[in-house]
């Protein structure tokens, strides 16, 4: 075979092989995605449709027959006097805990990527709240905030915040109870956010900051002028995931206060649970939970916009 013949053969081979690959890719893509999609449709899609059906019906745990009643269930859910309190609590709980998480995790990210003695141990302690199942860590908090045997009482007595022998009723007063639930949520979300922030920090080349330092920029100047702006996309993603997670979560409230005192710490998720399961009113429970949906869709839209912007740049 001459050189010319061989190269001519390759020229005709090239495009044909590519076309063949493209053809098979058209089949391969859907074939690879189908199992995951089918699974999600069965385990998330189908139950979600059922949940919508519940919300527009008058179904209870007693009778499983569906009776469609239009928006009546939603109206009943919203007109419940507790509903507005619950909605306000959900926003307060989410906003304060996630604001704290984003500030603390950024600082902690800086601390844990710096080198110091005992860093390994500090990292271990910071990871602990993440590796404990929330049902158990919330029980630790329940004991730590006990109305009589809390160790904080001893500190408070020492500092004369309460009289000798006095107690702080953490979970029995509205504001303190909300503060406790927010503290627990901040404490348990902090490790994950910190790990995300550490990843973001380690992706920023040290040379950028070093060059600025050579040019005479001080620590705060470098922090606010260079590092934080570079870190902001990662911070936003960590924040949005934290918000989505906290907004729909009921574990902290459920174990620590049960929504009390009164309904001072009741959030939408726990309210839906109490109504739907303990109250046996599936329809109202589903409607209460569905009211979270518009907020979640809004958050999803923001996340997707950030993701697509990052892809373009």
């Amino acid at each position: 075979m001459t050189v010319a013949q061989r190269s001519a053969g390759e020229i005709t081979m090239g495009p044909r092989r590519e076309r063949y690959l493209l053809d098979s890719e058209r089949l391969l893509g859907p074939a690879l995605m189908a199992p995951a999609v089918v699974y999600l449709v069965l385990v998330v899609g189908y139950p979600l449709v059922l949940a919508f059906l519940y919300a527009f019906s008058d179904v209870t745990t007693g009778s499983q027959s569906l009776h469609f009643v239009g928006f009546q269930t939603f109206i009943a859910a919203v007109e419940d006097p507790v509903f507005l309190t619950t909605l306000r609590n959900t926003f307060v709980f989410t906003a304060i805990s996630q604001a704290l998480v984003v500030i603390l995790s950024t600082i902690l990210g800086f601390v844990l990527t710096a080198s110091f003695r005992g860093r390994w141990f500090v990292r271990f302690l910071v990871l602990l709240p993440w590796t404990t199942p929330v049902a158990l860590s919330a029980v630790i908090w329940l004991w730590m905030l006990d109305s009589i045997f809390s160790p904080f009482d001893w500190f408070a007595q020492l500092l004369h915040i309460v009289p000798p022998g006095g107690h702080i009723i953490f979970l029995g007063q509205s504001d303190l109870a909300m503060g406790s639930v927010i503290a627990l949520q901040t404490w348990r979300i902090l490790p994950l956010a910190t790990v995300i922030l550490m990843a973001g920090l380690s992706a920023i080349p040290a040379e950028v900051s070093d060059a600025a330092e050579v040019d005479g920029a001080g620590f705060w100047r470098r922090l606010f002028g260079i590092t934080l702006p570079l870190l902001s996309p990662v911070m936003t993603v960590a924040l949005l995931f934290g918000i989505v997670f906290t907004f729909t979560d009921m574990a902290a409230v459920f174990v620590l206060t049960g929504g009390g005192p009164g309904n001072a710490t009741q959030v939408l998720a726990s309210w839906a649970f109490y109504k739907g399961i303990n109250g046996g009113n599936l329809a109202v429970g589903a409607a209460d939970a569905l009211i979270m949906f518009p907020v979640l869709l809004g958050l999803a839209a923001i996340l997707l916009r950030i993701a697509s912007r990052a892809e373009v740049s």
Binding site: E25, L28, G29, L32, M33, P35, A36, V37, Y39, L40, V43, Y46, P47, L48, A51, Y54, Q64, L104, V111, T113, A114, F116, F121, L125, L127, L128, W130, T131, T132, P133, V134, L136, S137, V139, I140, W143, M144, I148, F149, P151, W154, G165, W187, L190, V195, A199, G200, A206, T248, D249, A251, A269, A272, G276, L282, A286, A289, L299, A300, L304
Partner: protein, 269 residues
């Protein structure tokens, strides 16, 4: 991971003070739990002395009680089985899908990707009622396999996103031998995430399982150790610590690798 080195004395002092502050914030509940765990009953409900001093000699009785007289070890075993099976299903379904999403998809793929991502935002509080019906229909109620069926629904969406980013970043073509090692930190992240998720859940575990031989730690421990108004505090504290410490040690060892998995996604973003 390049560790930044604070250069001034003031910087170093600040790092140490902040590190101590965060260590106390994260660790204090566990210190309190550890102190409670070894207290004798007569030393537990005392308000008169310094709570950080044991008035009676420490006892391991409540820990041995937990291990011998409750199904605690069975709960842990259930958690491990559920976690491993869920990780296997999640990887089996999400790796091919993520690959397809990153390398093969056109416009339709992007839409499917968004749809998959949106399922991540559907809260468990909304789904567990209809799901419990589904579980009954397929005859898995009161079995740990009911949880294995349900959990991937929550790990797959996030993991596909994660993997798609990693694979997209690598841009090395369809050669599994080269993509795989590059994607490995990402896969590792997925495994950690999925396992943590199965360990953390308690809504589904509460709704689907009612016999103690199938319970997970999250549901089983409170069921066994909280009887109405009676809390077995020392054993409760021990149950949390026994799970938390080994897992945290393990995570800490692999933290660097875990962060690399994230970074692959983050670099692109």
């Amino acid at each position: 991971m390049a560790a930044a080195q604070p250069r001034t004395i003031r910087g170093r002092v600040a790092i140490y003070l902040l590190a101590i502050g965060f260590a106390v914030f994260s660790g204090f509940p566990f210190l309190w739990a550890a102190l409670t765990m070894v207290r004798q009953d007569s030393d537990l409900y005392v308000t008169t002395h310094n709570p950080f001093v044991l008035a009676k000699p420490p006892t391991l009785g409540h820990i041995t009680d937990l291990l011998r007289n409750t199904p605690y070890l069975q709960f842990i075993l259930n958690n491990i089985v559920i976690g491993l099976a869920t990780v296997a299903i999640t990887l089996g379904l999400s790796l091919p899908a993520a690959y397809a999403l990153a390398r093969l998809s056109g416009r339709w793929g992007e839409k499917v990707g968004i749809a998959i991502f949106l399922t991540y935002l559907v809260p468990p509080t909304l789904l567990f009622l209809p799901l419990s019906r589904l579980i009954t229909v397929i005859g898995l109620q009161d079995s740990i396999w009911s949880l294995v069926v349900v959990y991937p629904g929550f790990s797959i969406p996030r993991d596909i996103e994660e993997q798609a980013q990693v694979d997209g970043y690598s841009r090395l073509g369809a050669v599994v031998r080269t993509v795989f090692p590059l994607a490995l930190p990402g896969i590792f992240t997925v495994v950690v995430f999925t396992f943590t998720l199965t360990m953390q859940d308690f809504i589904y575990a509460l709704a689907f399982v009612s016999s103690s031989s199938s319970m997970t730690v999250s549901v089983g421990v409170p069921t066994v150790l909280i009887r109405g108004d009676v809390f077995y505090w020392q054993s409760l504290m021990a149950s949390a610590i026994i799970v938390a410490i080994p897992v945290a040690l393990l995570y800490n060892v692999f933290l660097g690798r875990f962060i690399r998995g994230f970074t692959l996604g983050a670099v692109k973003g």
